[in-house]
Amino acid sequence: MLEKLKAFNRRVAAAVQAVLLPAGLFSAYYLGLGLTWIMVRLLKPSVLRGPRPPDGTFWREARDYEPDEADCLRQS
């Protein structure tokens, strides 16, 4: 009986996920990212182009490549 209930719950959860996940992703993309895109285009279009490298080369100065232990503990 308990197993049947668990299986039923799993099916319900999967069905809810199948509906909510695409809807959530659709909203996150078109509302979240879309609005951000519009604002960035209006206010700071350079973000969409990426940083401009120095003249004559496409190399950029590398930063944060000599981390200490505290730096290494961070995920960012």
Binding site: L21, P22, L25, F26, A28, Y29, Y30, L33, G34, T36, W37, V40, V47, L48, G50, P51, P53, G56, T57, F58, W59, R60, E61, A62, D64, Y65, E66, P67, D68, E69, C72, L73, R74, Q75, S76
Partner: protein, 564 residues
Amino acid sequence: MPSRVLGLSAHYHDAAACLMQEGRLTAAAHEERFTRRKSDAELPLRALNYCLQEGGITAPDLDAAVFYEKPFLKFARVLIGHLRSFPRSYPSFRRALPRWLQDRLSLPLTLKSELGFSGRTYFVKHHLAHAAAAFLPSGFTEAAILTADAVGEWATLTRGRGSGSRIRVESEMCFPDSLGLLYTAVTTFLGFAAQEGEGTVMGLAAYGKPAYLDRFRAIAAARPDGSFALDQSYFDFYGEERMYTPRFVEAFGRPYAPKAEMDQRACDIAASLQALTEEILLALARDLRQRTKLDDLCLGGGVFLNCVANQRILEESGFKRIFVQPAAGDAGGAMGAAAFVSHCLWGLPRGGPLSPYLGPAFPASRCRRALAAAGLTFRELPEEKLCRETAKMLTEGLVVGWVQGRMEVGPRALGNRTILGDPRNPQMKRFLNDRVKHREEFRPFAPAVLAEEAADYFELDSPSPFMLLAPRVRPQKRAAIPAVTHEDGTARVQTVAEAENPRFYRLIKAFRELTGVPMVVNTSFNRRGEPIVCTPEDAVAVFKATAMDALVVGEFVARREEHA
């Protein structure tokens, strides 16, 4: 003092784990070898459990775990990338976001729940991990470092230098200007799988002429220092199905379907891409040599699995020696991250030369059981006789599967999970491609040659123990070894020294005694689309599914005719 660190790479392709103890690499393996899913990108739980077992420890005994990139930085790049290609990037966003939110941003929690490990988890930048993987095991006290791959967090290429246990990355190029992504995009254009078919494209290049080089040069505008920018109107790195745009198709013609016949246009495109890659890498290396004035160069990142480009860098960049580690791609990132923590953070001394034999070995009882369970008739032979008999089989034109000792780390089989053949046999290449490996007929095969005799056959004056150089075969020797001489007269050589792999060395020596030729054909023990075999059972399964003639597992020899 802390000394045990577990290195991990995962979530892009080719996940791997390694264990360093007291500054020494004691185990390393790709997850795909255990799960049997090619380039498996999932968190490498089986590989890391193997590493712990090999090291004789459990997860709570670890002082730290280290991941080969900074997940939050990479996630930020993924989001900004999707923003830049809005609204085309929705299909990619829909696929990527759940994966990121599910487990990629919570590695410490996953390690705790899956392993019971609750110690420190470090995160090392992706290209720093590649730089560490290239320099720290190189044996050089001071060297220039160049890394190149598809993309890490943001960086796609870095340059710098290493000295003692210090690594300085001085400059970087960033996404989307990526040599690795360019190579992968063209690989998919030619109908091969991303992250798998790049080596095939390199092989295909030998059959073409660089007729499209100018078009590629226009797409990748390079400066004299080798730095370049990709014209993004040709690429869609967040596209659902293709990494290239209609403009790329306009420039190069219709794309190739998977498994399509490779015509002259495909060969010329491959040759042009390879020529551009070599041109850029050479310019980068020459510029780095001028800046650093150093004699030694360490190369890291998946781009340097390109042995043809490596050979040109060695010959033409001005550096006297180069070092490319056997797992130069992302799997090696796990080793680099662990080495960085061991040597650069904890100050443990750098160890001796790197051995690629870091995977699992299996006892004789397991080998015997696997052969018996498959119904094979087999004999057990002492080593000397085993090598002699295997060499004799090769001289008879037989193809032999050879499984010995610890499995290799990296994408190349280096004599322990290997299919062997006779390099003198002109039919060997066709037979191996067609009947054993089930792959394209143009794919070349590599020689494993006695280190001390390599220079007699190849224009090579430095060792190539990891099969990452492709020297020219000496013209007078080409006819003698047709099975391993590629269309352009080069060969992807593995030099075998007795100290590095004694049994494999003795086998080649035995072949030399019978034939006068100090090498064998060496190709990875797998079938198309499958990872290299790991266990004796995997080897038996491939043996039974292909036209291989004999199988040598440990001290046991099974011949097909004996159980036919």
